[in-house]
Each structure stands twice: as C-alpha cells, then as structure tokens.
Amino acid sequence: MINEKQLDSQASSASDPQQSKEPASTTEPFLYRLFGNQREFKTNLSLLSMSLPGIVLLFVFAYLPMIGIIIAFKDYRFNLGILGSEWVGFQNFRFLFGTDAAFRITRNTLLMNLLFISTITVCALAVAILMNEAYRSRMSKYYQTMLFFPYFISWVIVSYFVFAFLNGQTGLINQWVDALELDRIAWYRSPEYWPVILTLANLWNGIGFSSIIYLAGILGISPELFEAAKIDGAGKLQQIRFITLPMLYPMIIILTLLAIGRIFHADFGLFFFLPRDNPLLYSTTDVIDTFVYRSLVELGEISMAAAAGFYQSFVGFLLVVGANWVVRRFNEDYALY
C-alpha cells in the first residue's frame, strides 16, 4: 500500500515515515491517512505488534479448528487431509443419528448438566448464606478451606477417591454395607447409581467455587437493608427470605442462564475418569464429549466423531447466543456481550 502511494506521489521522500517529520497532506501514505498522523501510526503499529503473538496463537489453536469443522461434511482420509477429502454432504450425520448412541449421549449430557446446575445452585446458595452468617467468626476461614480445596484437585485424582469408596472388593462403602449385613453392590457394574455418584462428585468439586461467587454477592448487599429490617423486628430467617434471596435473584438467574448456555458441553474429565471408561456404565455416563473422544482416539471412527463434534459445537453455539440474548433482555450489565 505504502509503495503504491509512494509511486503515485511526486515527493516520494516526504512520505517515508523514517525521514519525514511532518508529511504534507497530499503526500500522506495510505496508512497515515488511516491512522491520522505519524505518531498515531507508530503507536498503532507498536500496539499491533504487541498483540501479534496472541493473534497468531488464537488463529492456530482456535480459528483453524473452526475451519476444520467442515470435516463433518467430508469422508476424511488421512492421506488426503481435511481439505483434500471428499465432500459427502450429510452422510456422517445420517450415520450418527441412525445409531442409539446419538439419543443416549444427548439425553445424558442434558440431564446430567441439569442435575449439576440445580444441585450446585441450591447447595452453593445455602452454603453462601451460612458462610455469611459465620463471616466474622474465626472459623470462617477454615470452613472456606474445607469447602474450596476440592477445586484444586483434578478429575484424575478424584477418580482415585471414588475408586477408594466404590471398588467392589475393598471399597469403603462396601465395608459399611458388610457391617450392616446387606448385600454388596457392584458399583462399577450398576449404571443406575451413576447419575447420583457423578452429581455428588460434581457437587463436592464445585460447591466451593460457586459459593464464593454467591457469598461475594451477599457481601455486596447494602447493610442498611438488613439494619432497617432488624429495627422492624425481622428475624434472621425473615431477613434471608425477604432481603438476601430477592437481592440475589438477578445473579442466580444470570448464572443459571449462562450455565444453560453451556449445557451441551459436558465436563469431559468427570465423565471419562470417574466411571473409568467402563462400557457397562455407558447407558448413564456416556456424554457427547466422551463419545467424541472414544470414536476419535479409541475406535478411529473419525466420521462419527466429527459429526457428533459438529452437532455439539453448533447446538452449543446457538444455546450460548440464545442464553446471552435472554440475559441481555434481563439486564445488560450481566450479558456476556
């Protein structure tokens, strides 16, 4: 751009950013005109060069896979690559939705996420309210640590914890079952228990995080409201019922809506490590993410994996945009964009 302009202009030396201190308006190169003057141009150039590493990394690891999503409409052959493989239209999707798996993974993903959202919201609110009551006590710091430490533990380690409780031979729960003289339960062969097990594990892992957010919300409520209520004779329970909860409603609704926007994405680690990728448990523990991983890496059914992955990305995108639209109508400050 600069070169063309330089050739067009009569005084080419004046438009050289290195030499000219005050370029005349007629001989200004194109980029100068875009960026006002030389100083602004230099500033913008510096700022652009700062953001360049980030731009490149995002392009490679976020945008290239977005383009690569066309693989869902192709018959992928390793030697031909993504661009070289043949287009097959919706064949991969017909293949995916022709199986029982499509219904199973959709149902499991949605239901388990709904269970997670509701349990976490209710329990985190309860804990936050209690923590607020104990906030000035010396103990509050210890409560917070006990509730928050699971947040630092990865799902791989959690799978060790769950194994210690549930394994058929030596697991703690079956020792208790023995002590009560009941029949032992083969947890890793009984899919019906896993929605509860996974919900408890998720609650254990996430309650500290969520209750911190709600506690921050409660601490943000003006203390005058509580004092006025106290003078009017309201007890603690009434204060919670008529002040704390109503003041938190916007936050609860918004966090829930944003969680619903992500309802098509399961927590891969939770569903992959805790049931130990056990086929006997797939009926309740197989979700879209574990299905995509298994099809891609373990079974090598790339078409199936690509179709399921596209299905997740596409519906997930619509849900995020939809949820954000609702949040915006509700309160613009809380919207994602």
Binding site: F61, I212, L255, Y293
Partner: protein, 302 residues
C-alpha cells in the same frame, strides 16, 4: 413496675438464647459439611498408610489399618517415573505460566487502549473464541497431522497459552490504570513497549499474579493434552501418569527394576496419588485468598 422489670431479663435471655442457638446451628452445619468434604482426602491418605495384607483382608477404612509407610518407601526406592513426571509437569507449568501471562497481557494491553484503531475487531476476534470452538476432532487432526506436534513437550503448553477469559479479565484491569502516568511517560519519550513493561506491568501486579495462579493451576492439573497427544512415557505429565496407573495397575510392575519385590498395589496406588496432589494442594491452599479474589472478579464482572 415490678412486672416490667422482672419480664425484661427473661426476654433478653430468650433473645440471647435464640441468637446463640442460631449461631450454633450455622457452625454445626458448616462443620459437618466441611468435614464431609474432607472424607475422601482422609480415606485416600489412610489407605496409603495402611498395611497391604490387612487392606486386602479388611478392605479400605477411614483410619489406617496397621500403620506403615511401606508404600511410600516402595515408590521412593524407584522414583524414576514419578520424578520424571514431576519434572515434565514442573517445566510445563513454569514455562506455560510465564509465556502465557506474557502473551495474554500483551494482547490485553492494546484491547484496553481507546486510541488503538483495531480495538473493536480485535476484541471480537478474542471474544468469539468463547462462543464457538471447533471441538476435539479438528483440533486433534490439526495438531497431529498438520502441526506434527505429537509427542512434543510444547503440545502440552501452546494450546492453553491464550485463554480469552484471562485476556478479558486482564484487559478490564488495564483499562482502569490512571492515564496521567502513561501520558507523562510518553511525553518523556518512552515508546509503547517501554510504557508497557516499565509502567503497565508493575502497576498491574495484583491482576497478573491472580491470572498467573490460574495458569499454574490449569497447567499443573492438565491431563487432557497428554491424553490426546503424548504416547512417550518419558513425557507423561503427573496427572496423565496417574491416569495410566489407574487404567493399568501393572504399569509400575512392568518396570523391570521393580520385579522380585512384593508390590503393594492397593496402598502404593493411593500413595502415588497422595505424592502427586499433596505438595501442589498444600501450595494452592496457602495461596487460596488470591484464587478467591480471582473468582470474585471473573464471576461477577465476567
């Protein structure tokens, strides 16, 4: 007169009693819930300190059965793989956190600048990655076939280096810096890079420390990238090593140096888990309040 004076103390007492009972209930519930959260941790530590033979006979218990540190001695006699994995994880975490912080804050600074002409498009470019992603399949094919990063240590680092959330949180903090100071530096002739490193970064230590901690946590606890891209056991990060041990208890026994010894599989497995999460958990708990601050910023403003 006599009636009122005698009534007042009892009312006061009743009020105090109620308040006391209320406080007692709050602390009781929080204590029970908190201790319940601790049970898995106690169980695993107890198993790792238990006697192997009695574990096999009596099963796992909440308190160690036949207290012994044999499982730890056994692992630490041949620490090859676990030390190796610790080294991999430490390198990935240190390199990833520093590089990630640098790249994210360099990206966040122009986005915080009102005089940056490309601010709008670039903000969208960063933000859009939060809304939509290509998913696992194209990502996997890209890294293995096109970038050729399989079994390369940097595959454990590069994909997480720019995280849109972190960039946006840093940008919000940068945007609140006092502009007078920056203008003064510019008048003194400092270039944009110099302003960034000598003024913006030192003034933003709190937010950078918080985001740095989130980077540390993310890299330290990551198993996902290794699960997809690492086959070579000399590059197993800690979390992935534990997954391999869980999936295949014979992995340790397959090590030729350890044959000929009775393998305490039940307790050693849990001891391995304790060695993997113990030191990290301890350090994270020491830094807990910074995480709490980060969550509050990200949760409320995000």
């Amino acid at each position: 007169m006599t009636v009122t004076t005698s009534r007042q103390p009892t009312q006061m007492n009743r009020y105090r009693l109620q308040a006391f009972l209320g406080r007692f209930a709050v602390h009781a519930v929080l204590t029970v819930v908190g201790l319940t959260c601790l049970i898995p941790l106690i169980l695993v530590v107890s198993i790792s300190l238990s006697d192997e033979l009695r574990l096999a006979k009596e099963g796992y218990q909440l308190l160690p059965v036949g207290f012994t540190t044999f499982a730890y001695e056994y692992i630490l006699q041949q620490p090859g793989q676990i030390l190796r994995s610790y080294a991999v994880t430490a390198f990935v975490t240190a390199f990833g956190t520093i590089a990630g912080l640098l790249v994210c804050s360099l990206l966040a600074w122009p986005l915080a600048r009102k005089d940056f002409r490309l601010r709008g498009p670039l903000s969208f470019y960063v933000f859009f990655t939060l809304l939509f992603n290509g998913g696992m399949v194209p990502f996997y094919i890209l890294v293995t076939r096109y970038l050729g990063l399989k079994d390369n240590i940097f595959v454990l680092i590069l994909p997480y280096m720019v995280t849109a959330w972190y960039v946006l949180i840093i940008r919000t903090s940068f945007a609140q810096l006092p502009t007078e100071l920056l203008d003064a530096a510019r008048i003194d002739g400092a270039g944009e890079w110099r302003v960034f490193f000598q003024i913006v970064v030192p003034l933003s230590k709190p937010v950078l420390a918080t985001i740095g901690l989130f980077f540390v946590l993310r890299y330290w606890n990551d198993w996902f990238l290794a699960l997809l891209f690492i086959d070579d056991s000399s590059m197993y990060p800690l979390q992935y090593l534990l997954y391999v041990l869980m999936a295949n208890i014979n992995f340790m026994a397959a090590n030729p140096q350890t044959t000929g010894m009775p393998i305490p599989t039940l307790s050693a497995r849990m001891a391995m888990a304790v060695l993997a999460f113990g030191p990290a958990l301890f350090s994270f708990l020491l830094l807990q309040k910074y995480f709490v601050r980060g969550i509050t910023i990200g949760g409320l403003k995000g």
